[in-house]
Structures are given as C-alpha cells and as structure tokens.
C-alpha cells in the first residue's frame, strides 16, 4: 500500500538536499537527474501496485 502520511524522519533536511542536488544543473541536466532519481526510487519500491498508486497520487 502506498504511504501518503508523513514518513521522512528529517523533512526539512531531505527537502534541502533534494533541491541542492539540482544546484548548478541546466534545465536539461535537472530533467535527466529527476528521471534517474524516479527510476532509482521506483526500483527500490518495486511493488507494482504501489507504483501504480503513486503515479495516480501524483496526478
């Protein structure tokens, strides 16, 4: 089941790290980075039903 309640232990820290990861990247590089990140996270989740639920939740 997809977790949509708070689950990240250090929300401010994670958010800063996420945005910082894009610093100095062009739009094109950022897009590529995001795509790689999504694929890595998707593989970590693995569960097809959870992935489908996440795709739906993001709409």
């Amino acid at each position: 089941m997809l977790t949509l309640t708070p689950n990240i232990s250090d929300p401010d820290g994670f958010y800063t790290e996420l945005v910082r990861a894009h610093e100095g990247l062009s739009k094109e590089q950022s897009d590529a980075f995001n795509a790689r990140l999504i694929l890595i996270l998707a593989n970590h989740i693995g569960d097809r039903d959870v992935l489908s639920a996440a795709l739906k939740a993001a709409q």
Partner: protein, 539 residues
C-alpha cells in the same frame, strides 16, 4: 500471367500444369493461398495428419532477401514435430552474447545462457528463404510417404466468389486461368494480403513514422558472433538506432533506423549505404573489413491486425491477419503458431470429430496472441524511438543508469524475444487441480525437458496426449477422439521442477498444439475425457 513481385532465392515448386486446370472446378477441403513460412507450415501439419492441403503461390519459391531472420524456440519445436527443425538448427546461427551501446558508450552486455534440458535453443538466426526451403524439403518427404499435400507454383488468385459451403477461386497461370473450390480457404498471403483486399476487409492499427534501412553484407572477416545494438549511434548519418546481427553464410544483417522524412531512392544508393556500413563496422573493428552488399531494402512498419481472423469459411493467418514491428521477432514466429493452432482444428472438423465452432477458437485464441505481440512490439518501438521530450528523457535515464546499476537493464527494450502466449481463462482450457508450477499452467505451452535419451516434446506427436508423471496413464477415448497416454515413471529433476513443483505426481492433458488443457494430482480417465471434450467445445 501474374507479374513477379520479387526474385526467388530457391525455386522450390516450379509451375506444372495439373488436371484441375482442364476440369470442372474441383473442390478441395483446404486451400492455402501463399507459400511462405505460415502457409507451408500449415500445409505440412495438415498433410501429416492426413488432411489434404493445396497451396497456391504466385511465385515458384522462396523470395530473395533474408526478411525474417530470427526463429524462436517455439517455432523450432513446431518445425521439429513437422520434421523440418533439425535442418534449421544445423544451418542457423546460435548466439548468446549481446551488447547494447548508447552513442559511443557501451551500456552493458549480456549473455543469454540458455536454460538446459531443451532440445532447441532459445532462437536461431536464419534467413527466411532457408526456413521455407526446409519446410518444402519436409513436405517433399511427407508427400513421398503419402501425405496429401500439393503446392502449385505460379498460381495467382485473381478473384474469389464466396458461397455458404465453399469459396470459388479464379487462378491465373502461365496456361491461362482456371477455377478451384475451397471448402476452407486460408489466407497466408502476407501483410499486403490480396484476399483481404478482395473481401474488402480492413487492417487497422498504428503506423510508426519511421524508415528502416536493411543491408545484408557478406563479410569473411573475423567478427564476433554477437548481437550489437546502438541507441543514438555515434557513426555518421546512422539515424536513431542501429543493429548488427549474424546470419549463416557469412552474412551480417545491419539495420539503420533512418527516421520518417527521407528520400528513399537516395538512401538506397549503394555508395551511400556503403558509407554507413563502413562507419559502423570501423567504429568497432578500427578499420573497414572487406565486405560485399548482398541485399538492401527500406521498410516502414505498422502494428495492426484484422478485427476478426475468421470470416465464414475464410481464415487469415500470419502477416495477412496481423502485423508487428520487427523488434522481438514476432512476425513469422507468431504466424507459425497461427498455423499450428489452425491445423489440428481443421483436421478434427474435416474428420467430423469436432463441430465447425471449434474453428472459432482459432480466431479468438490467435487474436489474443496478436494483441500480446502488438503490445510487446509497440513498447519496444516506443522505447527505441521516444515520441515526446519526456519519454526521451526517461529513455536516456534508463540507458545512463544501466551502465552502473543492473536494476535498469531489464528496462532497456530493443525488442522482447517472441515467446508463445498462454490462453489463460479461455473456455477450451480446464482446471488446475494440481496447482503446480506457473509455467505449465492450463493454457500455456508445454515446456521441454529431457526424458530418457530424448526430450518430452518428441513424445507429443501432434494428437491429444494424457501425460502421467510418476503415475500410470492409459489412452482415453471420447466420442471417437483419442488422447494417447504417455507415462513417465522416472521423473527427472528438470521434469519435476517444470511440471510437478511440490507434488509427488501429476496428470496433464495436452492439446495437439502442445498447449496444456488441464492438470490433476491423480489420474481419472473420465475426468480427462470430460476435459478433452470441453477443449473441443463438446461439453
């Protein structure tokens, strides 16, 4: 006389005048139009079962050019049952190593070590004319042993008239036209099917706006027997993707994906093709090896199918019924499965062992298979040719990650190799009382496994079979139809893992096309008989 549409590689069935041409129209139980892989496999299968099959082809043999080159295990298993498989495997090229490149960077390589305990490899590379030749060789052998098969070369169907009980065909020959009648007419006449056009039937689907240049080159140089695939190849003017693949006779198949907006004539200029091939070969070899251009062609492709594969007494099989992109080798391979599905059903119906309605299941089963093939083939095409900016971003992200991270490699899609579909939940298939391994569930094809000095599939000879694994089975007869018993007392490790799982023993009912009808933990002849009747629509 009909005009030749292509040159022939092998003259396999020269025109000869036959008595039908000077008689009142003669009625044949099965007339097959088109002597390609599908039509020939169907005729051979029918003939070996004793059902007369007449093939009409507007040429005298296999067309020149390698065309279909990748024949998958299921096709080889079918060909083996028909007596043509060994010649194909002996001639074909078996490869295991593949390399995937993105630009000038190798993303990863893979080794497709085949699972052991199968007679046939996962696939072979073999030019289509050889495939057709070996089928015709097997037909000649079967004819010599009395199989009622006839192939008529330079017999071009120019008109049809449909009736309730048959179809009348007008056939053009070097000696002028004649008429022949077909109780059942099977259109195996390819993607540009004339019969489909004559019947005014549509062929809808998705056109991919892309052109592919094929070059078959003959190269004596020492070059590895591997499949190389490039996304966004780095060599000059090579388009969006490129593929290098080995075939027998020192022939290499090279594909360049050129895009949509091209000048066909210009791209077929041998000098221009050579420049591309030089760039590709030297990018890996460091120099241009000696080679000759054997055959070149430009093709576009569609993914589409007819809405219905059966129209009264007329059936469509192979490319005439469905067309896919070449990625994954799902054209000829799925067509040969069409032929196998139809052959045993026609045989039973013509011998009055099943009702005509059994033939409806040909259409429903193979329409389902076509959908699965079209889905796979469309997915590969979309990965290879991203249609939007974001799909290109994701595609390239997959390729970037695949280098360092194995998880991304299964997402790389340059074609998923053809495997037979499973008819899960279709009415002819029965219960899974065994709850055994998933791969051999009802609806699936039988997995091969060693048995004694041979293989399991060798014991399944084109009729119904009841297979007793670790328990005794006996022949089951129901309303004239027999399921021959195959009892295997000593169950090998491979058989156990593929057919028993945790169970101590099992009973399988298998259709003539080697699809599993039902399976049970114990043998009961009446249960088997009932499942067999259900499988031909008689329950």
């Amino acid at each position: 006389m009909a005009k030749a549409r292509y040159k022939t590689a092998f003259r396999l069935y020269p025109y000869a005048r036959v008595p039908d041409q000077s008689a009142r129209p003669v009625r044949h139980p099965v007339v097959i139009v088109g002597g390609g892989p599908v039509g020939l496999a169907l005729a051979l299968d029918l003939g070996l079962k004793g059902t007369p099959a007449l093939v009409l082809d507007d040429h005298e043999g296999a067309g020149l050019g390698s065309k279909a080159i990748c024949f998958a295990k299921r096709t080889l298993d079918i060909a083996h049952r028909l007596g043509a498989g060994q010649a194909m495997v002996d001639k074909g090229v078996v490869w295991n190593v593949g390399k995937v490149f993105h630009g000038d960077h190798k993303v990863f390589d893979f080794n497709l070590q085949p699972e052991s305990g199968h007679r046939n490899p996962a696939f072979i590379n073999l030019q289509q004319p050889y495939f057709e030749k070996y089928l015709v060789d097997a037909i000649r052998q079967a004819q010599a042993a009395g199989a009622p098969i006839e192939i008529r070369g330079l017999n071009c169907v120019t008109a049809i008239a449909r009736h309730d009980s048959h179809t009348t065909l007008t056939v053009e020959t070097p000696d002028g036209p004649y008429e022949v009648e077909a109780q059942y007419l099977i259109a195996c006449d390819g993607a540009r099917s004339n019969l489909r056009d004559m019947m005014g039937l549509s062929f809808d689907g998705r056109v991919f706006e892309d052109n592919f240049l094929i070059a078959d080159v003959r190269m004596k140089a020492d070059f590895p027997t591997e499949r190389w695939f490039w996304f966004e190849p780095p060599f000059k003017n090579s388009g969006q993707s490129a593929l290098l693949h080995k075939q027998p006779d020192d022939i290499w198949r090279i594909d360049f994906q050129l895009g949509w907006d091209i000048n066909r004539e210009k791209e077929l200029d041998p000098d221009r093709i050579r420049a591309r091939v030089d760039a590709m070969l030297s990018s890996q070899a460091g120099h241009v090896p000696d080679y000759e251009l054997e055959w070149t062609s430009i093709y576009t492709f569609q993914c589409r199918r007819m809405q219905k594969f059966r129209h009264g007494n007329v059936f469509f099989a192979g490319d005439s019924a469905h067309q896919v992109s070449p990625f994954g080798a799902r054209g000829a391979n799925s067509g040969v499965q069409d032929a196998e599905n139809l052959a045993w059903k026609l045989n039973l119906v013509l011998n009055r062992l099943a009702d005509d309605a059994l033939l409806d299941t040909y259409a429903t089963e193979r329409e389902h298979a076509a959908d699965e093939n079209i889905l796979n083939s469309s997915r590969a095409t979309d990965f290879m040719t991203p249609k939007t900016e974001i799909s290109r971003i994701f595609r390239n992200a997959v390729l970037d990650l695949a280098d360092a991270h194995p998880f991304a490699r299964p997402l790389v899609n340059s074609g998923r190799l053809s495997v037979p579909c499973s008819y899960d939940g279709f009415a002819p298939f029965g219960e899974d009382a065994l709850r055994g391994p998933d791969a051999t569930r009802p609806g699936a094809t039988c997995a091969d496994a060693p048995v004694g000095d041979g293989f399991l599939l060798d014991l399944l000879d084109g009729g119904f079979h009841v297979l007793g694994l670790g328990c005794e089975a006996t022949d089951v007869v129901a309303q004239g139809l027999t399921a021959k018993a195959v009892t295997i007392a000593e169950v090998s490790e491979a058989l156990r893992s593929r057919y028993l799982g945790e169970a101590a023993q099992a009973v399988y009912l298998i259709r003539p096309d080697q699809h599993i009808v039902a399976r049970w933990p114990t043998y009961d002849a009446r249960t088997v008989a009932r499942a067999m009747q259900t499988s031909i629509g008689k329950a």
